[in-house]
Structure formats: structure tokens, C-alpha cells
């Protein structure tokens, strides 16, 4: 537990010193929100949720790549693999909550006639899924630039694809639009259920991807015997 928390603490300290990452985390969702505020009801909510997810995924991507050079040494020093990625995730989840809370308050007072509970659900799922997605991408793609391209593509597709179609369900943040429809357009509760299921399944799948990718990269090699 201590080890996981130490990793989490150091991740937060690192991130707090990366001014570029902080600026992006703070400004990007706000920009998304304000850009759509004049539109019809609820568009800004949809966009701010997407913006939050994108910003958190990007932060997770950078955290993952920066940690790479240190991980072999940490492994040798006695960390288990799961402590390494869980520590980073705990830090990112904490960061996500701290980042989303003000936006929830903003929506609470700025937007009316929407289901606030459901919006809270979207944000919580976002906090859960976005870091998993970013960390998974960084674990699979060694270089930041390629990871960023993947994130951009996913977010772009998220905005373009029709959420009712089947293709859109493959995207990691599809639940956001589905529950958003429930919250903003006051549709049936089925939308909420489908969204929750999608979010939960996505989270579990991404966690497996992260665990497996980290596990392979930092595995104990078969030719070494510790006595």
C-alpha cells in the first residue's frame, strides 16, 4: 500500500511541475465549454465532458511516457508491477476528481433543466475511464507523438460519429453521449443503463490492457533466477 501511494504521490508532484500539462488540463475543458455555450441547450455540457476526458487522457499519456525510463529501476528496487500502474492511476483519478468538481459546480449553476445526477455520473465515469485510456495508449505506443495522434483520432471520431450507430459504441467515451442524451433531452432511463454498462465494460477492458501491457514490459525474464 505504501509503495502504491508513494508512486501516486510522486506522480502528482511531477505533474504539478509540468506547466504545459497543467495549463492544458485547466484551459482545454473550459474552452470546450465556452465554445458551445451559445448553442442550444446542453451542447456545452456534452463538449465539456468530452474535453475533460480528452485532457485527462492526455495527462495520463504524458505521465505514462515520462515514467518509462524509471520503471526498470523501480522494478529492481522492489516494486511489483501492479503497484507501479495502480499508483499512477490513483494519482490520475484524484487529479480527475479535483478537475471535474469545479465544472460540475459550474454546470449546476449555469445550466438549467438538466438531470444533474446523470451528469455527475458522466463525470465520474470520465474520471475513471480517461486515465485508463491514456495510460493504455502510452503502454502500447512508446512515443508520445503517436499516442497523441491516437487520442486526437478518438476524440475526433467521438464528435463526428452518430452515437446511435454501432460503430460509435467501440469508442471509449461513447457512454458520455448516451448518458448525456438522458440527462439533457430527458429520454428514457434505458439510455442511462446502456451508458453505465458501456462505461463499466470499457473501464474493465482498459484496465486489463494496462495490466497486461505493463506486465509484459516489466516481466521477470525467464533466464533469471532470484535466490
Amino acid at each position: 500500500m505504501t509503495r502504491t501511494l508513494t508512486v501516486a504521490e510522486m506522480t502528482l508532484r511531477e505533474t504539478a511541475r509540468r506547466r504545459g500539462v497543467l495549463v492544458m488540463l485547466l484551459v482545454l475543458p473550459l474552452a470546450f465549454y465556452l465554445a458551445r455555450r451559445g448553442d442550444h441547450l446542453g451542447q456545452s455540457i456534452r463538449f465539456v465532458c468530452l474535453g475533460l476526458s480528452w485532457a485527462l487522457s492526455t495527462a495520463a499519456l504524458f505521465v505514462g511516457s515520462a515514467a518509462r525510463s524509471l520503471e526498470p529501476r523501480l522494478r529492481l528496487s522492489g516494486y511489483r508491477t501492479h503497484q507501479l500502474f495502480l499508483g499512477r492511476l490513483v494519482a490520475l483519478w484524484g487529479l480527475g476528481v479535483a478537475l471535474s468538481a469545479p465544472y460540475f459546480v459550474l454546470i449546476r449553476f449555469d445550466q438549467h433543466d438538466v438531470r444533474y445526477g446523470a451528469i455527475a455520473v458522466i463525470m465520474l465515469l470520465g474520471v475513471l475511464v480517461a486515465p485508463l485510456f491514456g495510460l493504455a495508449v502510452s503502454a502500447l505506443l512508446p512515443r508520445d507523438l503517436e499516442g497523441m495522434l491516437v487520442l486526437l483520432t478518438v476524440v475526433g471520431l467521438q464528435m463526428i460519429l452518430d452515437p446511435a450507430g454501432n460503430a460509435a459504441r467501440v469508442l471509449p467515451f461513447w457512454y458520455s453521449r448516451e448518458i448525456g442524451t438522458y440527462a439533457i433531452d430527458h429520454t428514457s432511463v434505458g439510455y442511462l443503463d446502456r451508458g453505465l454498462l458501456h462505461g463499466a465494460v470499457t473501464a474493465v477492458l482498459l484496465l486489463i490492457v494496462v495490466a497486461v501491457a505493463f506486465g509484459i514490459r516489466l516481466r521477470r525474464r525467464p533466464h533469471v533466477r532470484m535466490v
Partner: protein
Amino acid sequence: MRYEIWLAALTDELRRHGVGPDLAGHVVAEAAAHLRDSGEPPLRAFGPPSAYAAAVADSIGGPAQRARGVVGPVRLRAVDITKGYGRRTVLSGVSLTVHAGQVAAIVGANGSGKSTFLRICAGLTGADGGQVELHGTVGYCPQAGGTADFLRADEHFALVGAGRGMPRGAAVRAGGRQASALDWTPGGEQARQLSGGTRQKLNLVLAGLGDPDILLLDEPYQGFDRGTYLDFWHEVWQWRDRGRAVVVVTHLLNQLDRVDVVLDLSAGGAGVAA
């Protein structure tokens, strides 16, 4: 150069060259007396402190040789390591055994597979054939990297120390002690703000943090000035005297007469350590 400065520098240099503290004190006192009697400037009478210290160290035949054969149990045993990339064989049938209280040097030309072999021993790279036995905890220092850009030195110590089960205060203090042996006092700078040589000092201290039984060092002295380079080898001998097994990849030969085992990989990637 004024007397006191020169004499202080001489004290430092004698320590670096492995002259024991008692003898060093006598040497400095005698030099001081000579300078007082003759009235000559130190640089003319004795030359630069490092040169005089080297001459003194030479005259006394270096630190007393430990009785060879007083070694401990096997800490690292690599047998028949083979590694190839595509069709190129980098290592074929390389073996190395290092006991506690021994220093092994891995030498060879560039590209002869020294770093690869060390990484295989650390378990960071896979081997195509062969076996490695590690008896104890391992510390590894790569040629570069191994540090986090945005963390401070004491945060590095805390992080790596936690892995070894050290409480934070103890880890930070231990790191500070090892750093001062390399003539460095860590401040509040982040790793990315340190100079190349200082960052490598951090790298080396992290490798030795928590006192691992086996130290695997891959030419860790990149960017060290001459004084720090000598301090580094001083640390290596200290680790040896404290019963650690140390493996150093190096292509600089002048310290080889004091290591216990030499593995030469330049002969086409096959080698058995003497």
C-alpha cells in the same frame, strides 16, 4: 596559490588517491613545514596538489592489498549467455561469476555487447540462451536515463527507497550521504535542471540506495570530472570492502589492476571471466 588553499586541496587529493588518513596527515604536515622553511610558493615546490598526491600514492604502493581469497558467497552467476539480434550474434556463451566482496570489470570495444550483457544480468533484457542466478538484491545504473525529469533528488531517494522498504527520512538521509561521497550536495533542483554529470551522480546514488548486495554499473561516469571519477572508484572499493559484489562495465583500463575479475568481450562476443 596560497598555502592554506593548496594544503587543503592536497588533503582532498590524498583521500581521493586512497592514502589513509594518518599518513595523509603526516604528508600534509611535512609539506607545510617544508613550505614554511623554504618560503617557496607551493606550486613551485610541489606542483599541483593532484600531481603530488598521485606521486605520494605511487610511492606507498597504493592502499594495502586485501588478502585475495577472502571472498564471500556467490552473488552473481551467469552461465553461457547467448544473445543475438536478427542474424547478428552479440554474445555467445559468455559466463561470469562474482562473489561478495569482489569487483568485476567488463571490458571490450564499442558494440561488443557489454551493456547488453549487463542488462541481461539485471534481468532487464531477455537472453536467447543461458542462465543467470542472482543471490540478493540488485542495484543497476545505466549509462544514461533512469531518472525522472520533474522530480527533485530527495524525491527520487524517497521513491526508490520505498521500493526497498526504507522509511522516507532514512532513504533521504542515505541518499544524501552517498551523494556527498561523490562530492555533491543535492538541493531543491529538479533532475532536468541538473548538469549532465550531476544527473549521473544521482543515477549512481539511486543504484546504491538501500545497500543492494549486487551492483551492476554500466559506465556510470559519463560527464564526471577527474576528481569525481576517482571518487566513483573510491566508492567501488568501499562497496567491495563492505562485502558487496560490484560489476562495472568500462572501457577505461587504468583501474584494472585493482579489480578481482575481468571479463573481456572484445574477442567476438565469447568470453569466460578469469
